[in-house]
Symmetry: C2
Subunit: 109 residues, 2 copies
């Protein structure tokens, strides 16, 4: 059954649940996740996959070790390539879409 996915109602589901992403939908071998970020995550990297961040609401800094940090506002996205250490930190409570391969841990190594 093909259906409409309403991200606003999904945002209500995860409000206040820092860095506990929920699965939204699978597309091909990827999974779309939605995460609420209010504060800092932890430094990590994904060894075998890239991770896309897309800001639905809020403002997020992705701290990086070997280049300037990336600041993302609503409507902005970036891809952190595999192997790159990063640490997301919200500048205000944020809702972030994540795209990753299906079946992999989202917390990284």
């Amino acid at each position: 059954m093909i259906s409409t996915i309403n991200l606003k109602s999904k945002m209500n589901e995860i409000r206040g649940k820092h860095c506990s992403p929920i699965d939204i939908v699978r597309v091909n071998d990827q999974i779309v996740r939605l995460s609420y970020v209010d504060g800092e995550f932890h430094w990590h990297k994904h060894t075998i996959h890239d991770e896309l961040f897309y800001i639905i609401k809020g403002k997020l800094v992705i701290q990086l070790k070997n280049q300037q940090d990336i600041t993302l506002s609503e409507g902005q996205m970036t891809v952190i390539p595999k192997g790159i250490e990063h640490c997301p930190k919200s500048l205000e409570p944020s809702y972030v879409l994540l795209f990753e391969p299906f079946g992999l841990l989202s917390h990284g190594d």
Copy 2:
């Protein structure tokens, strides 16, 4: 080089260019595309991949043959599974993010 991708400036690039998506960024084996839709596309299906539609701005109907049409407003998404015939049609000029495998034609069969 990891950089911020600003969809608002990408939207300016494609304004008025009906169903001529541009590539935004590659993530794993997928490509994120952005399309401007002002009117109807054509009936087609993708035989070997699913296609995700996410509405950045506007309102889009995805016409389907064997179930009720899907209407998508800003902040809503759907996935059309492989093999399903569909025909997108905008109800107002719309900007749509598409996720598909990298290297495949976006126009379908």
